[in-house]
Amino acid sequence: MKGTEEENLLSEVTEKNYEYGFTTEIDSDTIAPGLNESVIRTISSKKNEPDWLLKWRLEAFAAWSKMEEPDWAHVAYDKPDLQSISFYSAPKPKKVLASLDEVDPELLKTMEKLGISLEEQKKLSGVAVDFVMDSVSVATSFKETLGEIGVIFCSLGEAIKEHPELVKKYLGTVVPQRDNYYAALNSAVFTDGSFCYIPKGVRCPMELSTYFRINQAGTGQFERTLIVADEGSYVSYLEGCTAPQRDENQLHAAVVEIISHDEAEVKYSTVQNWYPGDKNGKGGVFNFVTKRGICHRASKISWTQVETGSAVTWKYPSCILKGDDSIGEFFSVAVTNNKQQADTGTKMIHLGKRTRSTIISKGISSGESQNSYRGLVQIHPGAENARNFSVCDSLLMTDKCGAHTFPYIEVKNPTAQIEHEATTSKIGEDQIFYCQQRGIEEEEAIGLIVKGYAKDVLNKLPMEFAVEAQKLLTISLEGSVG
């Protein structure tokens, strides 16, 4: 019977356990939970930061103290108690790392489980990995190769020490300290992150990749990524994450800033697979992220994301199209299952003339999850002949889930051309019937249809990520979508 088959498939999905739920045992240097000015001073001094950065952090903290946690997103959750979170946790450095042999064997194992062992990465894939375990980078590869062409790719902490002038020039220029509640929090307490600088006219020969992992129970993760692409340069940056299974909610409030100078291009791809909580909605990561890029003349920023994890997601990678002829792109697949809640989308702020933006968002909701697209397209008075095209589709897999669309369109220029369309539907029975007629099993047919549905976005991912993304999509919806 079809009905029972569907039920079986459903129960398979809902009973599916988180595959990456393991914890790595490493000694951690964790400070006591809570947040106040002295915690910020401790973080800053532990990291031997210069005074200007401490001042910057304290400004952010002062601004944050006056802010209220936003509640406009279409999500419901118990607000995390920030006073019970420890804001600093770094694996204790054992030695200065010169070769792989010196890397903590526990770490290497973790990476192997994730399928990104450094050796393999070095030898085979040509991807430089800046591996972030909790909050401090412990292994960086391909640095020398990149160094030859002048590309700087290191942890933010290292960049603050070695390239203070660059960090000082760009930090907080796209996402200011007081931008929003979580960005301000991040500015005050960020522990580490990645820094990337591509010099003028350089096309970065390999994809830069960072793996994030939340490791310590009770540790909030506050990453800060800063990417600067100088004039005429190109870089493709990959970010992916998995987190161990925990019962208490973990907060992840990252900030990503991208500066794309004249004629530069930055491609930022994310596969997000934080722990989503169990099937009853217990545990799981709160993912409150601020990602924003600024485009100067004739430059381009492209955000691609595959979102499958987190209990609550609140994430809007945005582009400020400041320069004339600049381009912003946003491609997203967001999958929610069980009790997951996602409120995600993008902002395209058109300031320059002939600026163009494309938004393609594909939401898939299953179980009892809620999946929302929230986007803003804003055309300012000076943005002559700006162009935007948006498609937001939602696919509903069960009768208990929800799919929502909240697009904001604000136009203040008579030459703008904006198109927005959104559809919500379930997989057509006629589509499945067509496949079945041709000897394709129902489950396989659903998988086929979903992959076809998400293809527009998956195609935009770099090769290395596309494989993982497909795998994640399958894992996240296994049973109901093949």
Partner: protein
């Protein structure tokens, strides 16, 4: 000078820009005015500027309100079996309608209407009765700093059918606030049509809220035309409470100069097998602002809902702007829901085509506007009304 909140007391606070539903439509200017429901009329009798019968040639019943007060001499109410139609002020105490909507608990505007409401229409259509002609409610604002709070109630019993037109006008020197509410409940298999036209001179802050409750297999069709208005906010809320309802609601807005037009619609599918179709079109001229917010809810039990929403805008001049937000909130899976939203200009190719055939730019643009509006206007049931609306749009914009 007393501010508005001192004159009209309320427990709810007036909306500010921080409120999501009002962020694009600030009313701070209105709040600093001093209005009264007893303002003197500028003209004695009905104004000479405005004809009490707004749609010439349309055979219709008429209920005329001036500054919120019923004018019996100019009204012509239907007297027919199965039809109760009277001004609210004449409804006997035991008969007064029970409003079901909760607007007065949710919004400051609604609370004011509830507390200070004046007259309005009370209409009941009995089972299987079809009223032969439309009823035109003509509301005239004539006076300086006038506050009017009309309130209408419509009940269409099973199989009944009625068409109501709400026409709002005002004289050139008038100013103040119009705060009107209409609640209609449509019984199974009944049909209700509503056309609303705002053609107000002067400086009126116009708030109107329509609350429609649809039962099983009922039909509702509404058209909202904003021809002229200093500051206009049209709110429409439809709740489909029974299976298989059909709702069609269309609108057109062509603000110019400094005008502000806001259309907020909510379509709430709480029951299964309903269909809804929405089409709003706007052209923003001068330095006007347009706002559109369309919400479609599909509740968990509303399986097999088919909802469609479209909002098309043209920003015609530098300085004009549009803020639009078409929203879908869907909690059922076996549904077909789509929305589309565009902002653009007149099709330059089409314009070139017409010009190359000797049609002047102005006339060519008028043709394109007419075509743009045709999709909205053409579904208005009465020919006379359709013609009149097109005519006043044309006069307004000098095509």
């Amino acid at each position: 000078m007393a501010v508005l909140t001192d004159i009209f007391k309320s427990t709810l606070l007036p909306p500010t820009r921080r409120s999501e539903r009002w962020k694009y439509s600030p009313i701070s200017k209105l709040l600093n005015t001093s209005l009264s429901t007893d303002s003197e009329a500028i003209n004695s009798g009905f104004s000479k500027e405005v004809d009490p019968n707004p749609v010439q040639g349309l055979e219709a019943y008429r209920l005329v309100l001036r500054n919120g007060k019923f004018d019996a001499s100019l009204s012509d109410l239907p007297v027919a079996q199965g039809v109760v139609c009277m001004p609210m002020s004449e409804v006997e105490d035991g008969e007064s309608p029970e409003f079901q909507n909760t607007y007065s608990q949710k919004e400051w505007v609604g609370e004011l209407n509830e507390s200070y409401h004046q007259d309005g229409m009370f209409l009941k259509i009995a089972r299987n009765i079809k009223l032969d002609r439309p009823i035109v409610i003509h509301h005239l604002t004539d006076g300086i700093d006038v506050a009017s709070f009309p309130r209408h109630f419509v009940r269409v019993e099973e199989g009944g059918e009625v068409d109501v037109v709400i026409w709002c006008s005002s004289t050139k020197k008038s100013s103040g606030m119009y705060n009107g509410l209409l609640e209609a409940s449509i019984a199974p298999n009944a049909s209700f049509m509503l056309e609303k036209v705002c053609n107000e001179d002067g400086e009126i802050y116009h708030f109107s809220h329509e609350n429609i409750i649809q039962e099983r297999d009922s039909r509702f069709m509404m058209h909202t035309f904003t021809v002229k208005g200093h500051w206009v906010r049209n709110e429409l809320e439809i709740v489909s409470r029974g299976k298989g309802t059909d709702s069609i609601f269309n609108g057109a807005y062509l603000p110019t100069e400094n005008e502000h037009v806001d259309n907020h619609t909510t379509m709430d599918h709480t029951s299964s097998d309903g269909t809804s179709s929405e089409l709003y079109r706007g052209i923003m001229y001068g330095s006007s602002t347009g706002v559109f917010n369309g919400k479609v809810f599909v509740r968990p039990d509303a399986q097999r809902t088919n909802a469609f929403q479209q909002n098309t805008n043209i920003v015609a001049d530098r300085g004009a702007s549009i803020n639009t937000k078409p929203e879908l909130e869907i909690y059922a899976d076996d549904v077909k829901c789509a929305h589309g939203c565009t902002v653009g200009q007149f099709d330059l190719d089409a314009l070139f085509y017409l010009k190359s055939r000797g049609i002047q730019e102005k006339a060519a643009k008028a043709l394109l506007v007419e075509a743009f509006l045709a999709d909205v206007i053409s579904s208005v049931p009465s020919t006379e009304l359709r013609k009149e609306i097109m005519k006043i749009y044309q006069e307004r914009h000098g095509w």
